[in-house]
Amino acid sequence: MKTDRLLPYFLILPTIIYLLIFVFAPLSKAVGLAFLTDEGRFTLGYFERMFSDGRFLEALKYTFLLTITIVPLQLITALLIALLINTRFKGSQLFLYICALPLGIADLAAGLILLSIFTQHGHLNSILYHLGFIEKPFYFISYQHMGFVFLSIVLAEHWRATAIVLVILVAGLQMISKDLLEAADVLGAKPWQKLWHVILPLLKPSLQSALIIRTIFALQMFAVVLALGGEIIPVLAGEAYFWYYIYRNNHISAAYALLLMVISILMTWIYLRFLRTRSEMRA
C-alpha cells in the first residue's frame, strides 16, 4: 500500500533531478547574475542600465511587433493546411510530410537561406535583373529599407516554424470524434458552421498549446534576426546575446534573459486564462 503511494514519486524522481540540475540551477544563477554584483551585493543597476539603453525600447518594440505579426499569420496558415490535410485527400500524408520538412531546418540556416535570396547578389535580384526589371541590384537588406528587412524576417520565420503549429493542429483535428461531425451533418450544418461551432471549439486545447509554444519561441527569436537584420532590427534575445558575447557584461545579459522569461510567463498565463476549455471552466 505504502509503496503504491510512493511509486509515482519514484517514477518522476529522475525528471525532477534533471529539472533541478539543468533548469532550476542555471535559472537561479541567472537571477543571481541579474541582481547581484560580482562582489555579491544586491543591485538594481543592471536593470536600470538595460532600461536606459538606447536600443532597449527598440528591441522591445520589434520583439512584440515580430511576435504579433508572425504568430497569428502562422496560426492561420497552419489551420488552413491542417484542415486541408484533414479532408484526407489522396496523398495528404505525403503533403503533410512535405509541409513539416522545414521543422528540420535550424533557425540560423533558415535566416541564411533567406539572406541568400534577398542579398544584393541574391536570387531575387538576379531574377529581377534577368527579367529586365532592374538595372543594378536593389539593396533589400539595408538601413534604408527597414520594411523589407522586417518582412524578410517574418517570411523566414513563417516558412521555418509554421510546421510545428501544423503538426499540433493536425494531431488535434484527428482527435475530434467523427460522430460529432456526422451529427452536425445530419442536423444540416453548413461547412463553415461546422468549422465555427464544432471543429474550432474542440480544437481549442491544441490551439492553446500551439499558441503558447509559438509565442514563446517567437519572443526568443534571435538567429533569424541576426542573420537577416544584423543590427538593423534589434530584438530582446539578440540584445541578451550581444551583451554577453560582444559587450561582455553577463549581468545585463541576464537581466534581458529574465525580462524575456517574465514576458513569456505572462503570455502563457494570458493564453491559459483566456483560452480555457469548457471542462476547465466548469472545474
Binding site: 538606447g54 536600443r55 539572406l115 537588406i141 539595408s142 544584423g230 543590427e231 538593423i232 561582455r248
Partner: protein, 420 residues
C-alpha cells in the same frame, strides 16, 4: 654520488626519449579555419620539430576562452598550457594568469629581440606581466585601383584627409551612380573601432575627453555627410574583403586581417593606404595580441618555450607572411614580406610612419566592462548617422554613460587621452 648522476641521466633520457610531451594552446586569434589550419600545419610543426613538444591548437571565441580560463582557474587544474588573446580579452581575466615578469626578463636576456616598449607596458595588468606581446594589428584602407581615376586633383593618396575622402567618394558617386565607400557595420564588424580610434582622435584629438564637445558635433555632421556615399548594404557586412572583391565597394576601411583576403586573391587590383587625417591629425589604433600562461597551466615550462618560439624575430616574419599579423619585435619590422602581403605591409608601414599620427589604444582597465565602451561608440554612430537622431541629444546621453563607465571602473582614459 655516481648513483645520483645515473638517475639524473636516466631521467633526462626518459624525457628526451619519450618526446611525446603535448600541450594545448588556446587562442582567440587565428580562429578562422584557414588561419587555424595554417597554424596547425605550418607554424607549430616547426616548434615540434625543434623541441619535440606537440602542440594542440584550439581556436575559441571570447566567451569560450573566458569560460574555460575561469573554470580551470577555479578548479585549480587545467588543460590549457598557453593562451593567446587580445589585450582586451585578458583584462577581465588577469586573476587567472601567471605573472610572466621573470619569463619576460629571460626573453630580453636572449638579446635577439626588442619588444616595442609601449606594448610591454600594456601587458602589465594589476601589477603583473599578464601577457607577453605576440602580434599587432591595425586598421587601414584598401582601395580598388579603379577608384584612383576619380581621386580629386592634387590629393596625395598617402596623406589623405577626411575631406579628401568625402570629395573622392562623391566624385565616384556622381560619375558611376554607385556608393562605393565601405565602412563595415554588420553585427560582428569593427565599426566601433572606426568611431573611437579613428574619427574621434582625428577630429577632436581625444577618444574620450571630448566625446560631446563642439568639435565632436562638427565631426558627426561630417560623418552624416560622408554616410551618403557609403554603400547601403554595409549593415550586413562584418568584413570588407568580400565586398571589395565583388566590386560593390572600391574604398574600404577595416582591420588589416579583414582586408587581407582581397589583396591575396587579386594583389594587382588593390592598394593599401593609410587611414585619413582630420583637423587634429591622423588617428589610428594599434591592436595588440599577447601570450599568457594560465595559473592552472599543466605545463608552464613547455608554454614558456612556445612563447620564446612565437616571439622570435624569424617566427614573427613567418606569421606576417602566413596570416598577415604584424610583428611586435623591432628586429622583425622592416623585413618586408614578398608577395601580396607586401601591398598590405606597405600600407601599414606608410600609416605607421605618417607624420601627423595620433596613436589610439583600445582602453584597458575597464575589466569586464570593456565591451560597453565599444557599445557606446557603436550606438552613438547608429543613432546619429543611421537613425538620424539629434546629435547633441545623443552625445549628451551616451556621453553620460561613457563618463559613468570610467568613473565606476576607475580605469584610466586610453591613449591619446591620458598622455595629454
Amino acid at each position: 654520488m655516481n648513483g645520483q648522476k645515473v638517475v639524473i641521466a636516466l631521467l633526462v633520457c626518459t624525457v628526451v626519449a619519450s618526446g611525446s610531451e603535448k600541450i594545448t594552446f588556446m587562442s582567440t586569434q587565428l580562429v578562422p579555419i584557414a588561419e587555424a589550419e595554417w597554424v596547425r600545419s605550418e607554424l607549430l610543426p616547426r616548434f615540434t620539430k625543434e623541441t619535440g613538444i606537440d602542440v594542440v591548437f584550439v581556436g575559441a571565441g571570447y566567451g569560450e576562452f573566458a569560460d574555460r580560463l575561469v573554470a580551470e582557474y577555479k578548479a585549480g587544474k587545467g588543460t590549457i598550457a598557453l593562451a593567446g588573446g587580445l589585450h582586451g580579452d585578458y583584462t577581465p581575466l588577469v586573476r587567472t594568469l601567471t605573472d610572466l615578469s621573470k619569463e619576460f626578463a629571460d626573453l630580453q636576456a636572449l638579446g635577439d629581440r626588442t619588444f616595442i616598449p609601449a606594448f610591454v607596458e600594456l601587458g602589465r595588468l594589476n601589477k603583473i606581466q599578464a601577457y607577453i606581446p605576440w602580434t599587432q594589428g591595425t586598421y587601414l584602407m584598401v582601395v580598388n585601383k579603379m577608384a584612383l581615376d576619380y581621386l580629386p586633383e592634387g590629393v596625395d593618396i598617402r596623406a589623405l584627409t577626411y575631406d579628401d575622402l568625402l570629395a573622392w567618394a562623391k566624385n565616384i558617386y556622381e560619375a558611376t551612380g554607385d556608393k562605393k565607400l565601405g565602412i563595415p557595420a554588420g553585427p560582428r564588424s569593427l565599426l566601433h573601432r572606426f568611431v573611437h580610434g579613428y574619427l574621434y582622435p582625428s577630429f577632436t584629438g581625444y577618444q574620450v575627453i571630448k566625446f560631446d564637445s563642439p568639435e565632436a558635433i562638427k565631426m558627426w555632421r561630417f560623418v552624416k555627410e560622408l554616410w551618403q556615399y557609403v554603400n547601403p548594404a554595409v549593415a550586413t557586412w562584418d568584413a570588407m574583403d568580400t565586398p571589395l572583391l565583388s566590386g560593390e565597394v572600391w574604398i574600404a576601411w577595416d582591420h588589416g586581417a579583414r582586408l587581407k583576403q582581397a589583396i591575396i586573391e587579386r594583389p594587382d587590383d588593390f592598394i593599401a593606404i593609410p587611414a585619413p587625417a582630420g583637423p587634429r591629425g591622423r588617428g589610428i589604433i594599434t591592436v595588440l595580441a599577447g601570450l599568457a600562461i594560465p595559473k592552472a597551466s599543466p605545463n608552464p615550462e613547455a608554454a614558456t618555450r612556445l612563447i620564446e618560439f612565437l616571439t622570435r624575430p624569424q617566427t614573427q616574419v613567418i606569421i606576417l607572411k602566413g596570416v598577415g599579423f604584424f610583428p611586435v619585435v623591432k628586429e622583425a619590422i622592416g623585413t618586408a614580406p614578398e608577395g601580396p602581403l607586401k601591398v598590405l605591409a606597405d600600407g601599414v608601414m606608410a600609416q605607421a610612419s605618417s607624420k601627423d599620427l595620433i596613436t589610439a589604444f583600445i582602453p584597458s582597465g575597464l575589466g569586464t566592462r570593456s565591451g560597453e565602451f565599444s557599445k557606446i561608440y557603436r550606438d552613438t554612430f547608429v543613432e546619429i548617422v543611421v537613425k538620424r537622431r539629434p546629435i547633441r541629444e545623443v552625445l549628451s546621453r551616451q556621453g553620460r554613460l561613457l563618463k559613468r563607465l570610467f568613473q565606476e571602473t576607475g580605469a584610466p582614459y586610453p591613449p591619446p587621452d591620458e598622455s595629454r
